[in-house]
Symmetry: C2
Subunit: 397 residues, 2 copies
Amino acid sequence: MSESNELALIAEKLDAADELAELRGKFTLDDVVYLDGNSLGALPAHVPDRMRDVLCRQWGELRIRSWEESGWWTAPERIGDRIAPLIGAAPGQVVVGDSTSVNVFKALVAAVRMAGDDRDEILVDATTFPTDGYIAESAARMTGRTLRALTPAEIPAALGPRTAAVLLNHVDYRTGRLHDLPALTAAVHDAGALVVWDLCHSAGALPVGLDAHGVDLAVGCTYKYLNGGPGSPAYLYVRRDLQPRFDSPLPGWNSHAEPFGMSAEYRAAPGAVRGRVGTPDILSMLALDAALDVWDGVSVEAVRAKSLALTDFFLRCVTEYTEPGRLECVTPLRHEERGSQIALRCSDAAEVMPRLIERGVVGDFRRPDVLRFGFTPLYVGFAETERAARVLAGALT
Amino acid sequence: MSESNELALIAEKLDAADELAELRGKFTLDDVVYLDGNSLGALPAHVPDRMRDVLCRQWGELRIRSWEESGWWTAPERIGDRIAPLIGAAPGQVVVGDSTSVNVFKALVAAVRMAGDDRDEILVDATTFPTDGYIAESAARMTGRTLRALTPAEIPAALGPRTAAVLLNHVDYRTGRLHDLPALTAAVHDAGALVVWDLCHSAGALPVGLDAHGVDLAVGCTYKYLNGGPGSPAYLYVRRDLQPRFDSPLPGWNSHAEPFGMSAEYRAAPGAVRGRVGTPDILSMLALDAALDVWDGVSVEAVRAKSLALTDFFLRCVTEYTEPGRLECVTPLRHEERGSQIALRCSDAAEVMPRLIERGVVGDFRRPDVLRFGFTPLYVGFAETERAARVLAGALT
């Protein structure tokens, strides 16, 4: 109990010193401790009013004119340029639209085509969120390549002259392990292959540095740490110098150099626009556009510092409050290997998570035995983090 | 002038007898004559309030719980079942999600795979909206088939033992010509091939009868006559008996038999769900869901009858008001060959359309020389139609 009081006091001090603390006021939150922003980010409070304008004025009054006058037509690349600085990309390389799965397909097929016909193997992260693996299998089948699934640690030794492309996750969705993007990218390049990074669990939580590390292609979702709303459109990054060679397997009219020319011949647009496909889902896209406003003036480095402080503090509280051996932390303790979540293993995780949720602490359960807690530095505080650990300890007994 | 008065009187009578007239009140409209619902349907007036609930309560308060509690997870097939009766499909065969282009890719690749390895040719409607042609080319390239573009009239003679699949438009986006779906479907089947119909310009405007005519696969958008909002998600129809053989080129986790099993092995779900890919864009999808409410109790046959009456009346007014030879109607005059639009050709169409829009009549221009007027029977009336023809005549002189 005195230990608990001590940690509560520390939490209070950490909250008082938190330079990002005021951002919480920009979100619609209640007294639930929401540690599931790595699944669905919370609602930025101004989004509903913005969407009322999109619905009533842009669609309702301007109707078809909004494709020009409200900037609907260029939204995919304009919003892509808003995401770009969050993932370390200069403008003109990111386009928003479609789901992550569809973008993995575009990126991986395009990477294989750029690698050339003599490279006949695709490597995929065996620990990936399953959809990447399924789509990689389809990409391999449809480009006549073989697919091999390996852990990220096994990738460097498996690379060679046969390797066409490698699909990797920046952060493991289950364990929260952060992979070494610079080193793995360099290894793939040393083998003459291309790399596609899935940023779903890192973008908005930590610096990615796509340009700095020479990444070839990347994809990511926008409904986790970017708070774009349920199923908000994903994005695709194609490094500028690769864009002229980006040969999309989904060449829709939106990626045509002259989309309103209505030509029967396909001619790919220059730039990131080449990654577009069909008519963009404007409502979901403009909710994301509004949601990105909370990032104005926020540095990803500050977000990363707070994320590590939060996960460190959570682990300290969990260690203090729970019986030794009751939980196993599957998230790496080393900062350079940790994303923005803590995954704790216990055999009764499936029963523990509903109890936690009932007591106002929302994380999620990942089969077979993982309790997953995501920490969104924009709106999660230290006192909440201490409370989450305390409630968790109570739910375990 | 007396002629104009006579037609205005006829319009008044037609409006008074119109059993669908009261539906106009369900939409946000002003005194513009909106004849561009075949590009972007008008806003159903209740949608913004519904979206406020989706944003503020479902996302803002329930957050991640909404995937279950608000029915987000099953929205693609539930909304598919709401579209099904509008295109003559029994439940369980339509799923909503992705863009039309992406669905064309899924449908055409799946059709080719079902046709078997000995059939090496895909036929595509040469008069199609360009994206279908581009995607067909990619599908052919990625399945090792050749692609041949032909007009729908040329298709029957081109069918043979080499034909794997045929991609056709129900209504030509430019001319408004309605193709003979039952006869073309039967011809394709006689050749042992599969047919994919694009319903973008027919669904919601006329009866389609997918089940009745034994169509194999179909796709369509929802932002034209279904009024789902800008870029609202498209849909995919897979006939029930073909579903077990539907082998998607985009096998995302949402189409897995056990999506939360997080298995590295892909196992396709049974039923229409097999056509899903990644996380659905819930905001756009639920706006469509709300928009479909205006169809409650509306028969597609009544919509078709009014559509033909509107386009007949428009042609009559245009004929009366304009100088002979000034405009050429490229839409067929025979009802069985006409969709729900009238396309008029004149050499100065590019200058005429802006004048029309300035005078409160909104249609659109299709290069090089076509004025396109779409008639949405749910909200377009006869007096407006007479006014549009009168304004058009004035804009031509």
